[in-house]
Symmetry: C2
């Protein structure tokens, strides 16, 4: 690593650490004041933002980026307004910081409680989506953290301008502008430094595609809140309501294909398969979903006159398609379904459709995923849908934060001890 990048990142880290102390002390009023001021500045400067963003977009087009990439990079009056609305929405969320659990008196006389506190300094590494700059900064700010933002290099001018507006908002509220810093270099070495500078960054939240996350996982020393895969399953139990199973499984796969909580593998009990699969798979095929099936499923579907089935390979059970493709397997019972989920799942989100209470309970308890659902679409695994108000990401790790991560996932608890001069004997 070149000395200059390393030194620059260390300095950013030092400033963030210093700012984090002031952020931890900040009142809810100060933090909300900053967020509302940023929203106001964004609305005042829509045309400036659009103009700067246009430069980023033109360079990205000239470099040959595809339409989806350009779409994520482009800011319009509508997406800019939704950033401002997002800020106002985060203002409306309860401030978790400083809350103290009920104090418990111990036999020694001391009273023990836990206080919710910020993590300290958060690093966000993301692709060329300028809206993440505002969303992520706002969540970190509200939760009393300092944040270092490293967005995709194609969005650098947009992000730099947004950072200025954020810093103006912080200053207006009497908060340190170093609480939100955008890494100004597009050099990839900056990322390598971020994910290893454990003395200055408490946690990294990577937002982006699988290749980015895989690379960070291999090299990071700073803990991450992240998920690599979202291989989500729905199991249709023998005691499922057929109409519900069809409605929910259609939604879980086709409502949107790209999100990590979309269903990728459907598991069906053999005894109910003939009643549910033909109708459901006709819907999938009408929507252009390619079906990759095991031999029992093929038999069920071909008996009902369906065609154009692909034979699922071992690789299919391990694949997060994020596309109109679905793998389907017929299983003998819930245990086989749970074994399949254990073997091939990614511990993200898995659901059962059943009216059997005992099996619902077993599935909830035994499936080791961040979100386990009964009779609902996997697409609900989302911070807004869970009532968290917003999310910084989804974690399928088991430590610290698991599932959709909102403000609370950006905090920690510390023990507080209220004594009256007690000593240990």
């Amino acid at each position: 690593m070149s000395t200059s990048i390393k030194q620059m990142m260390q300095e950013i880290g030092q400033r963030a650490r210093a700012a984090s102390r002031a952020m931890a002390r900040a009142s809810s009023e100060q933090k909300n004041h900053a967020l509302l001021h940023i929203a106001q500045l964004i609305r005042q400067q829509v045309s400036d933002i659009e103009q700067v963003n246009r430069g980023d977009v033109e360079r990205a087009k000239a470099s040959g980026h595809d339409a989806a990439f350009i779409d994520r990079l482009t800011m319009t009056p509508k997406t800019i307004e939704s950033m401002a609305l997002g800020l106002e929405q985060i203002v409306s969320l309860d401030d978790p910081i400083g809350k103290i659990s009920a104090l418990q008196k111990q036999t020694s006389g001391i009273e023990i409680g836990q206080m919710r506190v910020p993590l300290g300094v958060i690093g966000i590494i993301y692709e060329s989506r300028p809206n993440v700059t505002i969303d992520a900064a706002a969540l970190c700010l509200k939760s009393g953290n300092a944040v270092i933002l490293r967005g995709g290099s194609e969005a650098i001018d947009s992000n730099t301008l947004l950072a200025k507006l954020i810093q103006a908002g912080l200053t207006a509220a009497g908060l340190p502008m170093d609480a939100v810093q955008v890494v100004s270099t597009t050099d990839r070495e900056a990322v390598g430094e971020m994910i290893t500078m454990t003395e200055y960054i408490d946690v990294i939240v990577p937002r982006g595609g699988k290749s980015l996350i895989a690379r960070l996982m291999a090299e990071a020393r700073v803990p991450m809140i992240k998920h690599l895969d979202g291989i989500c399953h729905t199991y249709i139990d023998v005691d499922a309501d057929v109409a519900m199973a069809i409605r929910v499984c259609d939604n879980a796969k086709t409502q949107r294909y790209a999100p990590c909580n979309a269903m990728e593998t459907l598991l069906v009990n053999a005894d109910i398969a003939p009643k549910v699969l033909p109708e459901l798979c006709k819907i999938y095929q009408a929507k252009g979903v390619e079906l990759r099936v095991d031999s029992a499923t093929r038999h069920t579907l071909e008996s009902a006159g369906l065609k154009d089935l692909v034979t699922a390979s071992e690789a299919d059970w391990q694949t997060e398609y994020l596309a109109p493709i679905l793998s389907i397997k017929t299983v003998a019972d819930m245990d086989e379904a749970m074994n399949h989920i254990e073997q091939y799942g990614s511990k993200h989100t898995d659901a059962i459709i059943t009216n059997n209470q005992d099996r619902a309970k077993r599935f909830l308890r035994e499936v080791d995923s961040a979100s386990v659902m009964v009779n609902a679409s996997t697409r609900f695994a989302d911070g807004f849908e869970y009532g968290l108000g917003a999310e910084i990401g989804i974690s399928n790790d088991k430590l610290h934060a698991r599932g959709p991560v909102g403000l609370e996932g950006l905090t920690s608890l510390k023990y507080i001890v209220m004594g009256h001069g007690e000593i240990r004997t």
Copy 2:
């Protein structure tokens, strides 16, 4: 790494992972049955345990280990009985697994809750203290986890025998014996494999000295619950009760010198220093505590006739003595004290002695340590004293578990979603 060690550890990991599924399902009754059966076996086999342990102790003596080492390794009827009592005590603790928070209905109709679940597979790496084999296994077992134990090589025969008793207890309760495995090789490569096999171990709890932990931190890929240093401070505020300050600070330093929660640095407000330091430091010196002081403290103490003071160096503020040595600094106010703690502390445990409510509140909120105390001895930072019932260790990291870690720190939360056929729109 040699292929055979790697393969052996991978196989241990696979078996632990498989066993962890059965452990996650196990009822409280089964787990308690196993624990009580192990206690019974331990009591039945006191003389066998002593005899096997004697072999370990003789080899360790022959290798020239010091008295403290031999003391930790040696099992007596008394220490063996306290292991059995420890098991019974863990039986009496509430089983955290399967508890569900209140379900919250969302506007979509789905209901969201969180269920407490085991982490999965815990790895414990510890020194030659056979009692840890029982204590750690019991906590992991009660919290529904599988565990891989890698104790110090000098205790290998003792640990192997204890593992057999544990496995007999598991079998008697209908639980898989692979839920508790002792690594049977004393090869150090086994540790290197444990701390990197992220597919089989969810978290490592290292228990041991600083050099062990530092080495693991440099090489581990598996997350750890740990602390490296315990540089604990007490700040005597200008509004402290002098008698309380003396009593608490005496206790925090001298009740025991070796624990990580013993005070290592005393910070004193300049205005109260003449009233509290001479009397307190006479007590320290009478107990043989070496005092390393800054110039203001030296002035205060020498004016009161104290001698034999060592001048504190920069290194002293960074040192966890774990010995009858104390560094003392006189500060102008609480802000200087908090800045010192921020700069030199280890985020373990820090206390203030004060009758001023506003400063107590600020100290509690702003000092970024796992335990922050008002008017109490830092020696209280302990799982038993906090009412957790037992502890697997103390963490000064901010993610997942912070401070003394009991059963709950060995668990995670997953989201559970109860639907009625809802789909996302």
